[in-house]
Symmetry: C2
Amino acid sequence: MGEKRYLLTPGPTPVPDEIIKAMAQPIIHHRTPQYRDIAKTVNEGLKKIFKTDNNVLTFTSSGTGAMEASVINTLSRGDTAIVVRGGKFGERFTEICTAYGVKAVPIDIEWGRGPEPQAIEEALKKAPNAKALFMQLCETSTATVYDVKSIGNITGKTGAILIVDAISGLGADEFNMDTWGVDIAIGGSQKAFMIPPGLSFTAISKKAWNLVRQSNLPKYYYDFNKYERLMEKSDSPWTPAITLMIGLEKAISMILEEGVDKFVERHKLDAEFVRKTVKDMGLELFSKFPSNAVTAVKVPKDIDTSKLIKSLKSEGVTFAGGQGELKGKIFRIAHMGGIARKDLEHALAKLKEVLKKEDVKL
Amino acid sequence: MGEKRYLLTPGPTPVPDEIIKAMAQPIIHHRTPQYRDIAKTVNEGLKKIFKTDNNVLTFTSSGTGAMEASVINTLSRGDTAIVVRGGKFGERFTEICTAYGVKAVPIDIEWGRGPEPQAIEEALKKAPNAKALFMQLCETSTATVYDVKSIGNITGKTGAILIVDAISGLGADEFNMDTWGVDIAIGGSQKAFMIPPGLSFTAISKKAWNLVRQSNLPKYYYDFNKYERLMEKSDSPWTPAITLMIGLEKAISMILEEGVDKFVERHKLDAEFVRKTVKDMGLELFSKFPSNAVTAVKVPKDIDTSKLIKSLKSEGVTFAGGQGELKGKIFRIAHMGGIARKDLEHALAKLKEVLKKEDVKL
């Protein structure tokens, strides 16, 4: 099928051949012991990757579905929640809260920076009735990793639960749901999990379950109780995305074979390699706290971002542009999941070539 | 991979090799002209299959997600809706309405029968403020096709919109959204569309859009407006299930190549063949108005249903059992999508063998 393509975007990420092969087997029915074995293995594997003793519920939806689920299962109309807003996905939590009549108190931080623990403490003091604090592990739009550990330490001493969108960060950035005191952790399929989009994951702490019992926001498809009730039987309330679950089982076995910590460590080294290489080219990083999942690079002043991305695409290399207010100002290089070091080397060599061709003064 | 398996369940249905191959190609990004072409082709094809001029929105979710979307986008808290309840999926609409504070007035019908137009007229007269009438095209749990056409004729003369769960029926049973006066039609991927589960479809009439504008139920992921707004650009608000969309594009091209009416006609003939064959064996049909998608067969008194299904499974043939109150009383044979006549012949021959072995007196 022609030359290899280099898809280095922060979701979807390339799907390894072993996973594609697993998903290409004849489909099986979901109300069977065969499928329940897969669902069980997936839950057990996800628990190891989330580093939690809680079950991990799997929804057929994009990551946004699980973000919505975390709001509507824990909060009630008129509740107050604090939302860290330092990029597009912080904004999304704010929008979801607002759509459901939850008062979202934003902690606005400069894009590319992370929330200061002190600002979180102050916000919680100012809104002592806040039932939840929403934040990202990796804010994909700015390629920034947030200090979840320190913030979990703060929320752990309050009545508020900590809800972390770890969709793009999980598997790439260090994450430890239980010891960090995260109450709801959210993941997605098309990131470090290296399977196609269509699944999202949610783990729920005991503290969060207490809120779930009080929540009066309406829900049906995303009702945590409907899923949790069936976890013991490794069953699901609605027809699951069977082929994606089969792909996920394979992906998890690959991650566990490598070892969760080693998998994260590899992402760290790849991220360092990318950052060093682009800085050596004379380019500047956008984020002050760069994630291991994705690197945001400032576009030099004399360069047209969309032209740069197009030129690279014609060479078979796909980078993502900026989102929201960063459109035209950055490009993003993902280094997670099935993206190998040699893919990064190739892509960065092409970037260098294209910049040279365009005669950019760096 | 060993002997051919015969998965004759009403979802998932077997995925043809051409579709598996299309889905096994390296993944592409969704914010690209290449993906937008796919999304555009899918919308245009679905319109032809739904027989509508309205756009068909595609969600990453099971069919239940689109059922919920049809409630929360059109209704408001305290609204009244009439729900045809003649099986598990009629019950589901009732549950969703109730979860959102919508008063669901059920029209309870004997399982295996369809709603009488007269009963619908009376219900609408008794609840003149009802904003919507919910029903199935094929009630999968009883394998019964409902007379959507006659009921569309009735709701068309009222202010109520007609919402049809056509998830298992579409492509198998005759359906004509626009000329029948259906206001919201819902489809799903793992039925006659012969791709794996994970996508659901919703088409919305002008009359329904008027209600969408008034609806005050909270929503975010399933917000019709967020999807419709992007349809012109063939874009979607959240990351779509890219591989399933690629499979769907292929499935639609296969259906359109055969011709939508011929595709439905083939299902009709296969359904007739299955019904005749089981009756010739001395078995009795459950439904009074059998669907073209699936046939429900009464289990003879002296037979243990789960044993029968297990025996067939050990022969490579998978039938579905009954759901809800029909558990243990029926088994169901699907004949839709990629299930070919020769698969049905093989499966029914095995059924005959197994019944003979068990020495059932028919």
